[in-house]
């Protein structure tokens, strides 16, 4: 490759370069930083719910353990693996775009979306189980008010079903917001997939794929905390409770 070719190539403005940036490098760094600023607001948003969880778990430990033990640990663990796998395929989609392998990046984007959908289907199965067991808190579902079968939940004496209901409010708020983020993520990935299909991305310009990846990994991280906090918190106490 002749000496001057690389610099000439860089000097020629890329079609995707916005006029207020010096070059593609600066634009990409600004895109990444902007996405991180958004993710900071997301951390604070989920942080508030994690704080509520901490306070109520501290206040009603037995009720939280009993309520948590009613969640399906196999489905929860499967979903954790599904999401981690989807983060891996997302990282591979970014990599494939960075090295200019368009076909691979399309395959990895589709895989990521399929895994995201798998997660949502499993989540829907879990929600349906809670619906059948009358564990949807409050009177959100007409005709199906929160009405736990105390025997089935193995509630220790003295534990109020109201405190169990509190766990399910937090469970549905947190997993519901998380699932909404997954749905939005799949929507954004659909747009990215169409753009990738049309050949918009290249080693010089791939910031949209990169920052969509940042969002996707963030949603994965939220679940990495939700799984042990919601599904595993009372497993070690199962022997103590009737």
């Amino acid at each position: 490759m002749p000496e001057g070719l690389a610099t000439t190539h860089e000097q020629a403005a890329h079609g995707a370069l916005q006029h207020h940036f010096e070059n593609m490098e600066q634009q990409r760094e600004a895109d990444t930083l902007g996405m991180w600023v958004f993710l900071v607001t997301e951390i604070m948003f989920f942080g508030g719910m994690f704080l509520a969880y901490t306070l109520y778990r501290y206040k009603y430990p037995e009720a939280f353990a009993a309520a948590s033990n009613h969640l399906d640990i196999k489905l929860g663990a499967t979903n954790t693996v599904v999401l981690i796998f989807s983060s891996f395929t997302m990282a591979m989609a970014v990599y494939s775009t960075q090295v200019g392998k368009r076909r691979n990046s399309i395959v990895f984007l589709i895989l990521t979306m399929m895994l995201g959908l798998t997660f949502l289907v499993i989540k829907a199965v879990e929600y349906h189980d809670k619906y059948v067991s009358n564990l949807i808190p409050g009177t959100l579902i007409p005709g199906h008010p929160f009405n736990p079968n105390a025997h089935e939940l193995h509630l220790p004496p003295g534990v109020s079903t109201g405190h169990v209901e509190m766990f399910y409010w937090i469970y549905f708020a947190m997993t519901g917001m998380h699932a909404l983020h997954m749905i939005i993520g799949i929507g954004v990935l659909t747009v990215i997939l169409i753009l990738a299909w049309r050949g918009r991305f290249s080693p010089e310009y791939h910031a949209p794929v990169e920052i969509t990846g940042l969002y996707w990994h963030f949603v994965d991280i939220v679940w990495i905390f939700l799984f042990p906090l919601l599904y595993l918190l009372g497993r070690h106490m199962e022997g103590h409770m009737g």
């Binding site: 693996v81 990169e210 990495i224 905390f225 918190l233």
Partner: protein
């Protein structure tokens, strides 16, 4: 600063480490450790997994220090949120209300 491209082998190793972490956290949850140790172990594993995702999948290890500062500021503000709220709730009833 030019872009650092992470080799797929690194992604694969991180992916396998995350799977091991998931198995580990599900396995140790069934052992009854004294005091709050169960929660401490679960959170430690979760923090390690999250750090792996942030550093490698999200490229923070190879990003500018401005990005690292952004994340540190988020964690700092969240620490304030937790510290002030918990210091309120955990000390209620320490003083008799008149």
């Amino acid at each position: 600063m030019s872009e650092h491209i992470v080799h797929p082998r690194v992604y694969l190793v991180v992916f396998l480490a995350l799977l091991v972490g998931t198995g580990l956290t599900a396995w140790v949850a069934f052992f009854d450790f004294p005091g709050p140790l169960n929660a401490v172990i679960a959170l430690t594993i979760a923090v390690v997994k999250a750090t792996l995702v942030i550093m490698y999948f999200m490229h923070v290890r190879y990003s500018s220090r401005l990005v690292a500062l952004m994340i540190a500021s988020a964690l700092f503000w969240m620490a304030i949120l937790f510290a002030l709220t918990i210091s309120d709730y955990s000390t209620r009833g320490w003083l008799p209300l008149t």
